[in-house]
């Protein structure tokens, strides 16, 4: 049982119907994700890399079931979750959380920090009373290095990096086993990005949480991922341990991607 991967995805297909004309006739499908297999081990990080339109975001959203996959299998902690309806899925949702790219749109501007971070606690009934709810929120804020003085503030009073911490706190509050990070540091300034990446690493060391890290930034991938899966046009073209993938890329597309990474080494210039 403990050898089984935390998340095992096989043959995942997520297609979006294309409807045209007056009667919304089905004319075809956009095959956003077209047969994808991978595993995420407990406490480890799998990076899903690809360019826009590769379907990497759709994979993430399919796993937390924000979009409905067409076919395939998603086994979470040994349990098949793809066929489950919302009621049966409910207990699984607690284990499976998501952090979003844009810290502006991922936080409800009308909620205070306390209610925002406590959203999962409320939903799963994890706090017995108001004081416990508050204590748990303060605790999780401390984990993401935000002060408890912030409880009654609104999201607009925070900077981009602090907002992203709030998004992480909201996911972390329900103690998930896997967090899907969808371009979670892409919208942040360089110095803030480093803070968030360190935070994610600390949380993994402390709680053994696994990440499915969706990104286009290969230097971030190399830094934090244990394994990398490269996506291209809805399919995974290569999957390997990070060091091996960067040293000996097999697929031509992987090589193209790696060669496009901009180096920071000084280079000869015409004068």
């Amino acid at each position: 049982m403990s050898d089984a991967p935390l998340l095992e995805v096989t043959g995942l297909k997520t297609w979006f119907p294309v409807r045209r004309g007056l009667f919304r006739k089905l004319t075809g499908y956009v095959r956003a994700v077209d047969g994808v297999d991978f595993c995420v081990e407990r406490g480890r990080t799998l990076a899903l890399v690809g360019e826009s339109g590769s379907g990497k975001t759709t994979v993430g959203r399919s796993i937390v079931r924000l979009v409905e996959p067409e076919a395939g299998s998603i086994r979470f902690a040994g349990q098949e979750i793809l066929g489950l309806d919302e009621r049966a899925l409910f207990p699984v949702r607690r284990q499976l959380q998501m952090v979003f790219q844009d810290p502006m749109t991922s936080l409800n501007p009308r909620l205070r920090v306390l209610d925002l971070v406590a959203e999962g606690l409320d939903s799963f009934g994890l706090a017995k009373n108001r004081s416990e709810r508050r204590d748990r929120v303060v605790e999780v804020l401390r984990r993401v290095k935000l002060s408890p003085d912030h409880l009654t503030r609104f999201p607009y009073e925070f900077s981009g990096g602090q907002r992203q911490r709030l998004g992480i706190a909201r996911a972390l509050a329900v103690e998930p086993a896997l967090i899907v990070c969808d371009e979670a540091v892409s919208a942040l300034d360089v110095s803030i990005q480093a803070q968030i990446l360190n935070l994610l690493a600390d949380l993994q060391a402390e709680f053994g949480v696994a990440y499915l890290f969706i990104t286009h930034d290969l230097s971030v991938v190399r830094h934090l991922a244990h394994q990398v899966a490269v996506m291209h046009q809805g399919k995974i073209v290569e999957i390997n341990e990070t060091a091996q993938l960067f040293e000996a890329p097999q697929h031509p597309y992987t090589r193209t991607l790696l060669s496009a990474v901009l180096s920071l080494e000084p280079r000869p210039r015409s004068s």
């Binding site: 360089v190 480093a194 286009h216 830094h223 990070t242 991607l257 496009a260 901009l262 180096s263 000084p266």
Partner: protein, 324 residues
Amino acid sequence: MALEVEGLTTEFPLGDRRVPIVDDVSFVLPEGRCLALVGESGSGKSMTALSLLRLVPRPGRVTRGSIRLGGRELRHLSVPEIRHVRGHKLAMIFQEPQTSLNPVVRVGEQVTEAILLHERIGRGEARKRALGLFERVGIPEPGARFDYYPHQLSGGLKQRVMISMALSMRPEVLIADEPTTALDVTIQAQILALLRDLQGEFGMSILLITHDLGVVNQLADEVLVLYAGRVVEKAATNQLLSQPLHPYTRGLLDSLPGRRRPGERLYEIQGVVPSPLDWPRGCRFCTRCPEVFEPCAEQTPPLEAFSSEQSAACHARHRERPGT
């Protein structure tokens, strides 16, 4: 033609004060070279570019400094004159090409119109030239793409259209504001290569505005690092990447995941960029600086040359080397 900027200051009213969002920025962009303005959000790098073009959004205003293009002062030109400069000498491309293209006009038509605005030639001739530019900027099947609407093109192709439109006026200086930030990595590499080729071919200067030091390394000869509206370091690109002088520049470089061994902790610049209302009196980086000491909070450090190709604005440099 060289672009010389001296003591440029752009102020915005904030509360009951006027805050210099761009504060005493000076640089020289020699003909045919590329200078990069680097900084995080709120550093004033985009506002600097807009100040050059006199496009600062209200209620902001350029209050001091001079902007000379080929020796001609741009700050006091009349509105029609500056419009002429914008059309013929200084071109700009933006991060989001779709917002600068008219969505209901075919892209070929838009470039043709741009050419007709600058040159007294026939429509047929202008179309031919536009087609030539499409080919030059590497748009595949330019003949067919000519009649596409912007939304039918990918982000990379839209940026190529924008570049062809900028080139159509044969500008002296191309201001590129985060030209590749919205693009995929493989496309980004292509666009940067294209800009480099065009720079040589057209002999234009490029003012590159970006937050990405990797992009800087591809294109720029010299770099200006901006923090909270001020220049903190100015250096030749290789010098800056290998031996940054200012603690902020060092912090920026050290926080990049690409420069560390995998899994190693990244350097964190403590805290966040302060809001313009909370800018410290002395060095604006002093609240986050690891090398802060007495004079930092009170006195603004001047930008001093430490070698022929590197200057920095930092008191701590004197503490290290008391002789200089």
